[in-house]
Structures are given as C-alpha cells and as structure tokens.
C-alpha cells in the first residue's frame, strides 16, 4: 500500500510566524504530539514537536548533559516556558524535516519512522502538505491486512 492511501489527510499546521503559545494550544486541542510548519502556499518548511517546545524552555546547555537531574525545578521551567511562549515557531522548529511522499510504500514509511524514531511525519506532494502519517496509522494498517 502507498502512503497516499494510508495517510491521515489532515492539514493541521501552523505558519513560521505563529507563537509557541499558539502551537501549544493547537497540540493540546488536536491531541497531537507535533505538527508541520508550512509557508503561505502550504509547503512544509519545518516540524514542531512537544520535544522542541520543552527544549525551548530549557537552558541551552541541557543537551550537553546526560543526567536529567540538572534540569531546573518546575518553577524555573514555568518561568522559562512563559518567556519562550511568545517566541515564533520558526525559531524553535526542526528545520530538517523528514517528509514522506504520497508515492512512498508503507514499508518505506515504516522503516523511516523506526529509524528516525518519529511518531508523526508529514506527507507531501510536490512539496505541499497533503497529510500526515502516524505510527498508529501504520500499525492499524498492518493489523487490518
């Protein structure tokens, strides 16, 4: 089966100029772990995950530390999160996005998602967002065969 046949044709996305606050609201209301960031024509230019948002509220050196006990307490985290919430999505999104094509096979999609440890990947046609594939979509598809 092709990705175009199994994808969720949902275009929920935000522009680069949206704030992190807006992104948090969209992720929460739509109950999704991440969303594609698109330009004015719907071309995928990035991807913002929950992890990217959390990272925005953590000190810059946190990536260098392996022990999470160095993470500041929740109070400090909250202050930093509030400060970051008015930042643009474009500042914190992942710019090197792994996109699938509607013509990719289900096997290719599964391999990419496992290899890159992705929960959700945008699907594009000629660069334009046309849907998303979730891990659950692939598992549901495999189980229904």
């Amino acid at each position: 089966m092709l990705v175009g046949d199994l994808m969720d044709r949902d275009l929920t996305s935000l522009g680069e100029d949206a704030t992190l606050m807006e992104a948090i609201e969209v992720l929460s209301r739509h109950r999704i772990p991440g969303l594609p960031i698109v330009d004015a024509e719907g071309r995928v230019v990035g991807f913002l995950s929950e992890k990217d948002i959390v990272r925005a509220a953590l000190p810059g050196y946190i990536d260098l530390l392996e022990d999470p006990s160095y993470v500041p307490d929740m109070g400090q985290f909250k202050v930093r999160m509030k400060r970051a919430s008015m930042d643009s999505v474009g500042r914190h999104m992942t710019k090197e996005v792994v996109c699938l094509s509607t013509n990719d096979s289900d096997f290719h999609a599964a391999l990419i998602m496992i290899k890159k440890n992705l929960k959700r990947a945008p699907v594009v046609k000629e660069g334009i967002l046309v849907g998303v594939v979730n891990r659950a979509d692939i598992i549901e598809h495999l189980m229904s065969e």
């Binding site: 969720d8 044709r9 949902d10 275009l11 929920t12 522009g15 807006e22 969209v26 209301r29 739509h30 698109v38 004015a40 024509e41 719907g42 046609k125 000629e126 334009i128 046309v130 849907g131």
Partner: protein, 316 residues
C-alpha cells in the same frame, strides 16, 4: 499540483436520524432505524462530492466529543480536513423521520463559541488553502462568536484569488454574503423574505426577488419552490424544476437534499455541462438523496439514471 475544491462548515454537526413510524410529540418511541453521520452543509457537500468522484478539503471548527466523532468519520472516509479545534461541543442535530405521516421533525443546537484567536487561525488556514483552490463552497449557520459578515469576508478573499464561490446560507449571514456577490447562491426564499422584510408572496414575488439577486451580479441562484422543486436563475434564463410524481412518492428523507443539489451543481459547472443538463444533474443528485435514509448518494450512475425524472420548464 492539482487544485482542489474547498468546503467551509463553520458550524459542523453530528446528524442523527431516527426513523419513527407515526411519530407524535408527547409520546415515547423506539426508533426502527438510526443513522448517525458527520454533518453540516459543507461536510455533507464534501461527502457527496467524494461519492461523485471529486476530492475536496473540508474546513471549519470542531469541538468536544462531537467534534472528535466528526473528524474521525471524515478521516475514515479519507477526506482531506483542515479544522480548527475549539473549546466546547460541536452541535448534534436530531431528525425524526416519520415514514407513515411523511413528516420530518428536526432539532438543531447553536454550536460552540468561536474566539477571535480561533477565527484568526481559521482565516490563516483559509488563505493558505486558497492558493490551490479551484472552487470554494460556504454553507450553513455561523456559530456564536463568528461575525455575521464572515461569509462576505471569505467571498472577497476568494475574489482576490479569482476562485469562484458557492454559498448556501440564510438570515443575516446570507444577506451579508450577497454583498460579496458569490458566483452561485442557494437559499430558502422564506428565510430571505423574512430577513429582507418582504411579504411572503406568490411565484412572481419569488421571481422578482431572485431577479434582484441576479442583477447584483450573482450568476446562478437556486431557491426552493414548493416542497422539493426549485427555481434556477441561470445566465441563460429562469427554469422551474420539479420531480415526477411517482418519484416523489418514493421519497424517504429530506436530510441534506440541498447539499446534494449544490454538490451536483458544482460538478456540473466544473464539467462544463450545458445549463439544462446541469440543472437536471444537480436536481437528480438531490432526488437520489431523498430515496433512502442514509445521507448522500449511492453513486453517480444512480444519479444519472434519475435525470429523465426531472421536469424542467424554462420560463419566458
């Protein structure tokens, strides 16, 4: 990339149809049949367009459990969606179909409140998808919080992008939409008479009203005439459209018949059918939808087989 049809449903609903033979108010009944579906005019149009072989993207607002049901239903139908989720609960509309008395009773909810932020997000999504739209359909009521001139605003955006617009609305939302001059408008003339303060009149009054809309620049207008017939005001004249009597006797449900008509008219105009064929095709879509409880049509071939049953009279 191919351009798509965009349908806007600002106030989607879960439509529940209960078939209750000999329904009367004030009694307790057990439904003999139940049909639950994702609804709201634009969503209905998207579903029927798919049944006619056309892809579309459905937009609007969703909220709560009903919103999740609608989104999940559309996902399973493999329809493209771009809804803004908001706090609250999307509507549930209940229809009681009485097969014995041939009467349909309906109860509709108001829908969730739409904040300025949510409306702003919707407009951004709309502008984005407009760059690859071939046609836009706006239909149904506006939920609380959405300004009454929202359709006019959307029509003007479409005009700037040179995308034709179909509108099916009523009340102040319709009168505001008419100021934007869409390409096609469908309305129930009783609503328009009440909105504009005209006295409810005979066919001549309806024609005068429709002529005024046409003179403002609207190319096509469709208004209800009698129970299931329509008046089509087209670039080539005015047509009175009705259905053969024996087909009328087969009708089961009137739910979404206007949406089937609009979906049919969109397909007809996209396929450049001549005016009379376009009318027959659109009205046949509507007729096919009435012949069963389940909302929508059973296929394009079924629609085409009903086209000879449509009575079309061109008025002088």
């Amino acid at each position: 990339m191919d351009k798509t049809i965009v349908t806007v449903t600002m106030n989607p609903a879960v439509d529940i149809q209960y078939v209750v033979p000999d329904f009367r108010p004030g009694r307790w009944f057990r439904a003999s049949e139940v049909d639950r579906s994702a609804g709201g005019k634009g969503i209905n149009v998207s579903i029927i367009l798919q049944q006619l072989g056309y892809e579309s993207a459905a937009m609007g607002f969703l909220a709560g459990f009903s919103g999740e049901y609608i989104r999940d239903t559309l996902r399973r139908l493999k329809l493209t969606t771009n809804f803004v989720n908001v706090i609250g609960e999307s509507r549930t509309d209940v229809y009681i179909v009485d097969e014995v008395g041939h009467i349909e009773t309906g109860v509709a909810e108001a829908g969730p409140y739409i904040s300025d932020e949510a409306l702003h997000r919707f407009m951004k999504n709309f502008d984005r998808i407009l760059s690859r739209a071939r046609l836009v359909y706006l239909g149904g009521s506006l939920p609380p919080g959405v300004p009454q001139d929202a359709y006019k605003d959307l029509i003007l955006r479409c005009k700037e992008a040179k995308v034709p617009v179909f509108v099916d609305a009523f009340g102040p939302a319709l009168t505001a939409a008419l100021e934007g001059v869409p390409r096609v408008v469908k309305f129930d003339h009783r609503f328009l008479f009440s909105t504009l303060g005209y006295p409810m009149g005979d066919l001549d009054d309806v024609l005068e009203l429709v002529s005024k809309i046409h003179d403002s620049g609207v190319e096509w207008s469709v208004t209800t005439y009698r129970a299931v017939g329509n008046i089509f005001y087209t670039p080539e004249g005015i047509y009175l459209v009705d259905i053969e009597r024996e087909e009328k006797e087969q009708m089961v449900s009137l739910l979404a018949i206007g949406d089937a008509l609009m979906a049919g008219l969109m397909v007809a105009l996209l396929e450049n059918m001549d005016v009379e064929k376009a009318i027959r095709f659109a009205q046949a879509c509507s007729l096919e939808d009435t012949l069963h409880v389940k909302k929508g049509i059973r296929g394009r071939d079924m629609v085409e087989s009903l086209m000879p049953k449509i009575l079309v009279e061109k008025l002088d």
